[in-house]
Subunit: 165 residues, 2 copies
């Protein structure tokens, strides 16, 4: 490696370091972090869009890491794509799961992040009438080797209907 | 700053960079990461111990960041120490919340991490008999300026009783 290239690499590393290590560990985020967070928020939004277009089983399969774990309401923890696919496929036919991510945050190193938001699960009840379960969720994401985000943990629980007490 | 000191700083930054940026974004964790994860796992364990010793309201107040958010089962999202304290204080008297962290993971930058595990909520039911609600949880943690970990997000939902289907 030519000395000029080496110096460029060192300067680049120092530049990234100075960004990374000058940030306080508190809540103040820089624009660099905000950009990363915006990408993750959009990823969760795209995940929701795919759930609307193709159904939540296919969407979950597309956005989960191989080692993903699901924390289903009322069930035990479920690990791995095949088991998660089987669990998600057990629900009522034509059920629609949608959600709205409210916030994303990404670690300074860009490898780990989370999103949270509100969710709606629409299905036909036993009486054949449409029903909605409202909820909220936290999803933990990990950056993959190709730069994309996949979720590694996903958990939700019930919320009151909007406008209710 | 003397040129020697400056060079030391640059070399140190390059050293940290090479640690930080040479790691794959996948699941392979280095010992440095494992050490950080071990500290976070112990933090969640100590949090549980304090819940046993002093009650979960005091434990939550001790381990939550000022901006913490709670995602209670069946309720809306609750933000901030005072609101979370009020919510947690609404439950049955003498209720005991304990949990067992199963895993911790920390971002390469050491500023963000998560733990998850199983939980037990023991209380006296309306009939005066002891009751237990089993659950699982994910807690998202942020490193504070003093180096300690405080949680920023906490969510749980019900699980079947151990040994049950």
């Amino acid at each position: 490696m030519r000395i000029q290239s080496l110096m460029s690499v060192i300067l680049l590393l120092v530049f990234f370091c100075s960004i990374s290590y000058s940030q306080p560990a508190g809540d103040v985020r820089t624009n660099v972090d905000s950009l990363e967070a915006a990408v993750l928020l959009k990823t969760d939004s795209d995940f929701n869009k795919l759930s609307i277009e193709k159904g939540f089983v296919e969407a979950f399969l597309s956005y989960m890491a191989d080692s993903a774990m699901l924390f289903p309401n009322g069930s035990n923890l479920i690990t791995g794509k095949e088991n998660i696919k089987n669990h998600l496929s057990e629900g009522p036919a034509n059920a629609v799961l949608t959600w709205k991510p409210l916030k994303a945050e990404v670690a300074e190193s860009g490898d780990l992040g989370y999103t949270y938001g509100s969710s709606e699960y629409k299905f036909k009840g036993d009486d054949g009438k449409p029903a909605v379960h409202y909820g909220k969720y936290i999803t933990v994401w990990k950056r993959q080797c190709d730069g994309s985000w996949k979720f590694i943990l996903d958990i939700g629980n019930p919320s009151p209907a909007p406008g209710g007490k």
